[in-house]
């Protein structure tokens, strides 16, 4: 926390006289300093109530999770206050109940793998469908863009659980898709789609699509189409223009969208629970299990910290990359 501050937003320019410029009234220097110090103190006081609530009900509890991951599980739920690495050990390893040999915890690892895989595929799917959608909105006449954008955000503001229900309605055995396929005679038996990995993937892509479209749109809106025109003047094909001009220009939006979709997918709880039918767990459900039936709070805490760590690595690499892209464009 050095004196150098990198606030995400710069203060509006020309709003206040810049004290860095040579000030003729040098005698007022200490007075200015004092006023400034008072101003900063005032700002902190103003922000304090929000910070207190956030510390008490958001950041503080996270530290407790970290502490709990190093404690001994109480068989009745909760913990015994005794240091143990058991929780962390169990994230990856399992002790065989018969011969006490130590092996990899296949169940955990397969759930990890499924979570990463499904989150990655969700991100990819939302990108494939979200990119043209965002492009479509960004190329509408100015006055209609807001309306199209609004149409994208409506589902986003409606309850996640209800949207998951809606997907369930569509893909279950007696659902719309199977009914249509059966009445048209394409299939004889309903295809089992609900309670599969496919259902979770579809549900997550459906639920998180707006999170991909919004940042994509934000960067596409700023796209300078004269560049695209220049590309065509230089005999670029449509595909070349897309690949060499448009995609590089909107890359920050792609990365932001990918991060915004990947993170909630990885920790998804509701969608896998409803659409996976309790058989196809993801990381979020595994964590819940340890606090519920599993009665292994330290393991649950260790898994939570692991998830958090993955997310933080993703976020930090994003911030780094975003910074570099900005600097590159100078």
């Amino acid at each position: 926390m050095a004196s150098q501050e990198t606030a995400p937003t710069s203060p509006p320019g020309a709003s206040a006289p810049d004290p860095a410029t040579p000030d003729p009234a040098r005698s007022e220097h200490s007075y200015v300093e004092e006023a400034r110090r008072r101003e900063v103190r005032g700002k902190w006081l103003l922000a304090a109530p929000a910070l207190v609530v956030l510390l008490a009900a958001a950041s503080g509890p996270l530290l407790i999770v970290l502490v709990y991951s190093f404690l001994t599980p109480d068989p009745y739920g909760g913990v015994e206050w005794q240091f143990s690495l058991q929780g962390w050990f169990q994230v990856v390893f399992a002790r065989d109940i018969f011969d006490e040999t130590i092996g990899l915890a296949d169940a955990h690892l397969s759930i990890f793998w499924r979570s990463v895989q499904l989150s990655f595929l969700t991100t990819l799917l939302t990108l494939i469908f979200g990119f043209p959608t965002a492009y479509f909105i960004a190329t509408r006449p100015q006055q209609y863009r807001e309306l199209w954008l609004f149409l994208i955000t409506i589902p986003f503001w409606t309850n996640l659980l209800i949207r998951t229900f809606a997907i369930m309605e569509v893909i279950r055995n007696e659902g719309i898709i199977n009914t249509i396929l059966m009445t048209t005679g394409i299939i004889e038996q309903p295809i089992q789609m609900l309670f599969t990995d496919f259902a979770i993937l579809l549900g997550m892509a459906y639920v998180y699509l707006p999170l991909m479209v919004l940042p994509l749109y934000a960067s596409m809106e700023k796209l300078d189409f004269r560049l695209v025109e220049a590309a065509y003047d230089l005999y670029a094909t449509r595909f070349q223009a897309l690949r060499r001009v448009i995609i590089p220009a909107v890359k920050p939006g792609i990365v932001a969208g990918a991060i915004l979709v990947f993170i909630p997918s990885l920790g998804a709880y509701v969608t896998p629970r409803v659409l996976g039918g309790g058989k196809h767990l993801m990381l979020g459900n595994l964590i819940e299990l340890q606090f519920g039936q599993g009665r292994n709070w330290p393991l649950g805490a260790a898994l939570s910290i692991t998830l958090l760590a993955i997310v933080m690595v993703a976020l930090i690499s994003y911030v780094r990359n975003a910074g570099r892209t900005d600097a590159g464009h100078g």
Binding site: M1, E5, A50, I64, P132, T158, L161, V270, I287
Partner: protein
């Protein structure tokens, strides 16, 4: 719209083949499941699959279901408190973080405010479960306070964003003029800043309310026995299949959320 799409224009730099088709598919796919859900909530039969005619039956049943009534009232109480608290605190925080030169600790404030957006919800939920369990043991209190505190915290960033956006686009000279006319800082705030800021505050409060109303995961973990909100009640009810009653509740819920967001959208639009 028609003018922009005239086919007489042979080549448009903005056109990319197939993109419009995919976009239309996306919009249809976004709305089709929701519309299906709404349509089937009016189905007369017990089956959720076969259409047996129009009826309000499931709405009536949901309306008379006491658990649904309790959960709905609880949801609204929590969301109102959370929106009120989060918006007040977010307004103060936004005033503290905008229209100022960077100062020591500003990044810390930003990081704290945005924290609920960055930490996966399940992790926050687990953290609050442990934390509140500790408090419950030592104080014995098990009221709605925990849920209100948790909801207020994760609603702060949502209330903060529109308020900050509004503040940043506001003209500083008006306040300077008020000060020139001997208004005290408080007077200038109350008579100049606050009225100008009002749309942002309203938008922030609405978003906070909707976000709180929609929350499933954190509520599911934090709630004590018998403290179901509407979403957690619905999550608990669904085991293997949906009942038409769930469709009816979902539809009403959907209507409220969409209504609020639409009002917000048009209010915002007219003010611009």
């Amino acid at each position: 719209m028609a003018e922009a799409r005239t086919t007489s224009r042979p080549f448009s730099v903005k056109r990319l083949p197939g993109f419009t088709t995919v976009a239309i598919i996306c919009f249809v796919a976004l709305y089709a499941p929701i519309i299906t859900l709404v349509v089937y909530s009016f189905n007369a039969g017990t089956s959720v699959a076969v259409w047996e005619g129009f009826s309000w039956r499931w709405y009536a049943e949901a309306w008379q279901n006491e658990q649904v009534q309790d959960a709905s009232i609880r949801s609204v109480i929590i969301a109102s408190w959370a929106a009120l608290i989060a918006t007040t605190l977010a307004t103060m925080a936004a005033l503290a973080t905008t229209r100022t030169r960077p100062y020591r600790g500003l990044t810390v404030i930003y990081a704290l405010i945005n924290q609920p957006l960055m930490v996966p919800e399940i992790v926050s939920a687990v953290a609050l479960l442990i934390f509140f369990a500790m408090i419950k043991v030592s104080t014995g209190y098990s009221g709605l306070g925990y849920l209100i505190a948790a909801h207020s915290a994760f609603c702060i960033p949502f209330a903060y964003l529109p308020i900050r956006a509004r503040l940043e686009s506001m003209d500083l000279t008006l306040e300077a003029a008020a000060a020139d006319l001997y208004a005290t800082p408080w007077k200038a705030f109350r008579r100049v800043t606050l009225p100008l800021l009002w749309p942002g505050i309203l938008a922030g409060a609405m978003l906070a309310f909707v976000i709180s109303l929609d929350d499933v995961v954190i509520t599911e973990f934090v709630k004590s026995a018998g403290q179901d909100t509407l979403p957690t009640y619905m999550l608990g009810q669904i085991r293997r299949t949906l009942t038409p009653e769930m469709n009816a509740i979902s539809t009403v819920f959907l209507g409220i959320s969409i209504g609020l967001v639409t009002v917000f959208f048009f209010l915002n639009r007219r003010r611009k």
